[in-house]
Amino acid sequence: MTAPGGPVRVTGPVPTAAGADGTDGSTPDAPDTPGTTPGPAPGTAESPDHAEALRPVPEPPAGAEPPADGDGDAWTDGAGLGPDTGTLRRSRPSRSPRPGVPTPPSPMNAATGPTPGLATEALAADPPRRPVPPTFPSPGQPPPGVARRQGRHAKPERAGASLHTPPSGYRPRHAAPDAETEQFAATPVTGPGGSGPMPLASPTPAGEADGSDTYAPLSSPALHTAPGLVIPPQPDVGEHSDRVRVVLAERRVPTRAVRTVAEIEQQTETGELLLRNLLRAQLALGLRLGLVAVFVLGALPVLFLVLPRAGTVEIAGVTLPWLVLGFLPYPFMLALAWLYTRTAERNELDFADNVED
């Protein structure tokens, strides 16, 4: 795969899309894809949005955000619509509806990235994770389509967008929740700028529940906690925010693991060590319990040979050898098997935890 991050399931599609789209600057089909494959890009992009969305509701277009041209719009829209934050989550979907306007997919936007600064930072912060950033051609140069589009929605903010370097105001926002978030925000890097603008798109699509079908099922309270982004449920944003966060959450665990996994697969020292420990633990467990079985069962013939007397002892009308050989081995072996399974699963759990941390 492309980059170390490549293996991550979610990301897969993104890079290509980004690259392709970036070049021509417009992908008509972008709209329909929202919920499905492109997921990663939009999802990541969203994270920032939400973070923003959730808190700053009041301070919408206020502008702190350079890339915000789109954002600004979105916000305003959202505000107007009230509860319909859905728009925010998806820059993509919203876009689609606009007939005449060429709509580059979010990743593309990112690529063209109104926020080069972010992109770079993001890369630096977490290179392995996201193959996307490296792929894009030129963060600095928004393709014509993009420019146009953005212009449309966010005329006022445009200036900000063009700046591309709003690090101060921008960054903190995404990173806000916790350190982890930062990473996430970084991923979208491609998108932060882009993502911002995109949502602006249209209130209508929001209603259409763009990604809702895909994401909705995922949204379970449990999941929310997982991601770095822990956001208190907000009255108006409630459900929508749920979806978004979930996506992030899902992605995050594997993403983390992937780095270690890659290490292991490339047989770096750490990886080797982890694998060797697992192997040793499992083999030692098997051998230990195996020896117990062999000694206990294997001692019986010798015992009978050395102590022929034992063969004549009767318990409840059954002589000892019959009892010892005919019945007892089965519960004994079952107990060993159960013990083994339990311990082996715990070993694997430990290994997985090590990998994921």
Partner: protein, 578 residues
Amino acid sequence: MSVAGIVALVAVVVVAIVTIVIGSLGVRVARTTDDFLAASRTVGTRANAAAISGQYLSAASFLGIAGIVLKDGVDGLWYPVGFTAGYLALLFFVAAPLRRSGAYTVPDFAEVRLDSTLLRTVTTWFVVLIGWLYLLPQLQAAGLALTVLTTAPPWVGVVAVGLVVTASVTFGGMRSMTFVQAFQYWLKLTALAVPALVVLGVFVLGPTREGAPPPPVFSAPTSVDVSTPVTLQVPAPVEVGVRGEVDGARLNGQASWAPGPHQVDAGTTLTFPAGAPVPVVSDADPDEASWSAPLTGTGEGHSLLATYSLVLALLLGTMGLPHVLVRFYTNPDGRAARRTTVVVLAMLGGFYLLPVLLGALSRFYVPQLLVTGQTDAAVLLLPSAALPGWAGVAVAALVAAGAFAAFLSTSSGLLLSVAGVLSTDLLPRRLGDFRIAAHVGGVVPIVAALGATRLDFSLTVSLAFALAASTFCPLLVLGIWWKGLTDRGAVVGMLVGGGAATAAVGSTLAGVAPGGWVGVLLARPALVTVPLTFLVMVMVSRSSPHRVPSNVGRTLLRLHAPERLGLGDARRGTRSTS
């Protein structure tokens, strides 16, 4: 043909029809090769465990264990213990990693791990060899069972079961087979549990045996037809009516046998009065004392050696049986494979109590089998001997149905895996070829079963175990746990160990094995051949370190890492959820 025979035959036919129906129902679901071979890996833990157990409980388990217990007493108990312990070894060293390897068959595993075409070919041939060796006693048992039930000649049963199995495998594939096998486990369990409980009740509630001479004795005047030449040990002087050839002389009338060995030729009819002690075939324990004491009988003074070698073969052979391994590919992941194995252990342990009990009981009710040596028929004859009238007929029919379920399930599992490797490795890979392969795989053992002489099922089956233990066990264990294994080491080790085991097995089957400890080791070669294979594999691998596959670390990682890390094969459908 007696009424009992007809009823039993009807029961058998019903089992065969149900098997085919369940098998063919599954065909609608089976669309791709994956569907066919591994049931798309979506079989649940309990269903899969029942299927594994159902497939594993062969004629040797269903008929053979009771027979060997009837004959050898306590020493026969090692068979069920060994059969079960095999799953313990499988669980400890093979189950989860094997499942995670994502391979369908042992040759697949060999290729995944060592990436060698030659090795793949060698393992393929051993799969076929072990499969056929294991099919042999199944088909012969079918012949014996049909003969006992209906007095039909043995070839009828062999051919009938052979054809049913071939048809079932040809039209089904594994998904349907999984349901068939699971169904057959419960059928077999019922078919032994009912007679065991009923006969035990009759035994306990029946007339007291206080003061009666210890078994085996004839409780009623009995006439016995000897169909194969036997040497009988006579424990005490006995009056016997003879029509036929005894001790080299033709005789028609009463004779008085002194204690000691007596040769009885085929076709002789012996008539014993009530209360006479039962003469037993030469390889059985002659009296109550030696029967109920361990380490007697088998091996002529080398019983310790024989016992250990047998147990080693059963312990390590299970993990090499192709039809057992194939079952593990239908688990959704490695964790499920382990849990399935635990359930299998429980199911087998519960099952094996029954044939042991039946074998002990048959010493009271069907001692004449000790005269003919056909002790494998004990389970089939016990119900009608212990229960008079229709109850006996009904229970006997149930047992017969269970026995045929045993032949069918094991044989179809074996044939499935044999046909699987034949079609993927020795024939071009298309679905149609699987059917051709199934026919080829089925015809050979049918012919062999018709030609070969019959040994005790437990013995023949343990030969297959010994061969599997000497070839696949080292390959799997070293392949899974040792990075240093090379393809050259694996090939040489399997050829040496497998060759030695095959030679030993062949000499035993051909009846040319000498006596003494050499004979014991030839009949039960595992004690020598398994360490030999391990040794050769390690030595040769050590001497060719440059042949260690470069991606070995990655392969081992895939075998051992839990699936949820996403390191396994991409085809895995379900992930463990907790």
